[in-house]
């Protein structure tokens, strides 16, 4: 009661200056690190995105400036990549959610009575984390390659026309993204469903709600925190990913995403301002979308 209420704030009230020093000692190293290697790089990214080519005209040499032109350049040149990145991210997030929710529900709610099974299933869901995601993606590439048994079957039943390849298509990229990010979706969903008090569901059906209604009115709202963090953990990295879309993995030259272009401009063309402008555009759109999403779902305090 009163004890619990005061307990958590105890250290603050125990000698302001001294606990102040402790907090500082705990916070400073991490915060300095955050400023040096997160905030400053982002600022420098913005500055670089405004640089103009050097007078020497040499490739890879730029001078500080205020060249908004870099932005119009990347937006006009790379708008298909921008659209594709966010389109893929949107689609893959939705599909991941649809696949993950029943799985997380089973593990978190239905398997609760058998803790051993529950723990095994959680382990299996996180198992992909323990093996290189590049190799897993290559495995899919080979499993779904043109003459693989799965594709032979797909051609036979008419899912694909005889001349169609799956690998290299946009669908294959989305497939790879969904596969790679299901664990990131399932885990937060599981965490919030696992905490769900079954008595709420029982109370719901006791109060004459049909199973569908219980789900919509009780289960879904209570698992909202899991849905929010799951979708964020999925959407953001997908929008910036370019490995799945790479022609050496599941994509082709027609599936390039924002990351592909940043990679090319930064590491090959040495057009640092363009690569930076591209990154800033990506980051900017994500921040706007995330802010809107979090506001809309009314879970700002979750962060």
């Amino acid at each position: 009661m009163a004890f619990a209420a005061f307990g958590s704030s105890a250290p603050t009230t125990q000698g302001q200056t001294k606990s102040g020093r402790v907090v500082l000692a705990l916070l400073l190293p991490g915060l300095i690190y955050l400023v040096l290697f997160f905030v400053i790089p982002l600022v420098s990214l913005v500055l670089t995105s405004l640089e103009a080519p050097a007078a020497s005209g040499k490739i890879g040499e730029y001078v500080p400036g205020f060249d908004i032109g870099n932005y119009s350049y990347v937006v006009t040149k790379y708008w298909p990549q921008i659209a594709r990145s966010f389109g893929f991210a949107f689609l893959a997030t939705i599909i991941s959610l649809l696949i993950s929710y029943p799985l997380a529900y089973f593990i978190g709610v239905k398997a609760r009575s058998r803790p051993m099974l529950q723990r095994m299933l959680v382990t299996l869901v996180i198992a992909p984390f323990f093996i290189s995601f590049l190799l897993r993606t290559i495995a899919w590439k080979q499993l779904l390659a043109d003459h693989s048994p799965i594709m032979e079957w797909a051609h036979q039943v008419g899912l694909l026309s005889p001349s169609q390849s799956f690998i290299g298509s946009e669908a294959a990229v989305v497939f790879g993204l969904v596969y790679n990010f299901i664990p990131f979706m399932t885990l937060p969903l599981y965490t919030s469903l696992e905490r769900l008090d079954i008595r709420f569901l029982e109370a719901g059906s006791d109060l004459y709600a049909s199973p569908a209604k219980v789900f919509r009115k009780i289960t879904l709202p209570l698992s909202m925190p899991g849905i929010i963090s799951g979708t964020l953990l999925t959407f953001i990295p997908i929008a910036g990913d370019y490995v799945n879309a790479s022609r050496d993995f599941l994509g082709s030259s027609n599936t390039s995403m924002i990351g592909t272009m940043v990679d090319a401009d930064f590491l090959q063309n040495r057009n640092y301002p363009a690569a930076s402008a591209m990154s800033v555009v990506l980051m900017g759109i994500i921040l706007i979308l995330v802010t809107w999403y979090v506001r809309k779902s009314g879970t700002e305090d979750l962060l």
């Binding site: 955050l34 420098s44 803790p115 993606t137 495995a139 910036g240 921040l287």
Partner: protein, 272 residues
């Protein structure tokens, strides 16, 4: 449509377990594939099943460059994990246990790196090092890895600190332990499971990271980089061997702790 309907009615009949099984099989298929192909007597490309062999396992370092890359990856992950875990644990304790002015601002600042795509963080750091005249390499890679692991450590340890009853530390103070004794004898041992899982997560993230590493490592090769480059020509079966052994090791550790934990709990219940 018909498929969908029968799927739905199947769900209704209680085949959620079957669905979950299928989903898990889906998740595990490429892992299974990777392990199987580590035993393939492959020619140049390890894409078609040829015949069974243990050679890849007995000659892991047949490709010296692969072994060097793995060695680099292990070093980078170990060092980054150590630093990120220490910094993140301190931040997590401060954020849960103390009320200070900019607490929510700090919370938000720590959330931001998780909301930043790897490519942005990678390009930003690479630009910073470039502008500072520091070439890409081992140290920049470690710095970058610590950065993206930090937020995940904070989130994981924070959850553990939140479950810790402040009365336990107070009891320690009450029983004649000074602040540092309270930390090392009570707080730290109780936080240890959370700190360990944060370290494990950190190691896994770091070991498997490709994009940020690609931008900041320069000539230093890592395991993911090796695979990415090799993907053009064909990944040697030894890469499968290494990935499989890391996987099996991790799974054995996790399963062992879970099973022992399970029996411990069972035993506890029994005594009661």
């Amino acid at each position: 449509m018909k498929v969908l309907r029968s799927f739905w009615s199947g769900l209704k009949r209680g085949s959620l377990p079957v669905y979950s099984l299928l989903a898990v099989v889906f998740l595990l298929t490429p892992i299974f594939y990777t392990i199987v192909f580590s035993f393939n007597k492959s020619l140049r490309r390890n894409t078609v099943w040829n015949s069974f062999t243990f050679d890849n396992w007995t000659h892991i370092c047949a490709r010296q460059d692969l072994c060097n890359a793995v060695g680099n990856s292990i070093m980078i992950s170990l060092i980054s994990t150590l630093i990120a875990t220490a910094l993140g644990t301190a931040l997590a304790i401060a954020l849960v246990r103390y009320r200070f002015k900019f607490r929510s601002a700090v919370n938000f600042a720590l959330f931001l790196p998780m909301a930043t795509p790897e490519i942005v963080m990678g390009a930003g750091l690479a630009g910073l090092f470039f502008n500072a005249g520091v070439g890409p390499g081992f140290v920049p890679t470690v710095i970058a890895h610590v950065m993206f692991c930090l937020s995940f450590v904070v989130v994981t340890v924070k959850a553990r600190v939140q479950t810790l009853d402040p009365a336990l530390e107070e009891a320690g103070r009450d029983l004649y332990a000074n602040p540092s004794q309270v930390f090392w004898k009570i707080t730290f041992p109780l936080l240890l499971p959370g700190v360990l899982s944060a370290a494990l997560l950190s190691f896994a993230l770091s070991f498997d990271d490709f994009i940020i590493t690609y931008f900041n490592s320069g000539s230093v090769n890592t395991f993911p980089k090796f695979i990415y480059v090799a993907a053009k020509g064909g990944v040697p079966a030894q890469a499968n061997v290494i990935a499989s052994s890391v996987f099996l090791l991790a799974i054995i550790i996790v399963l062992a702790t879970q099973i022992s934990g399970h029996f411990k709990r069972k035993r506890l219940q029994h005594v009661k």
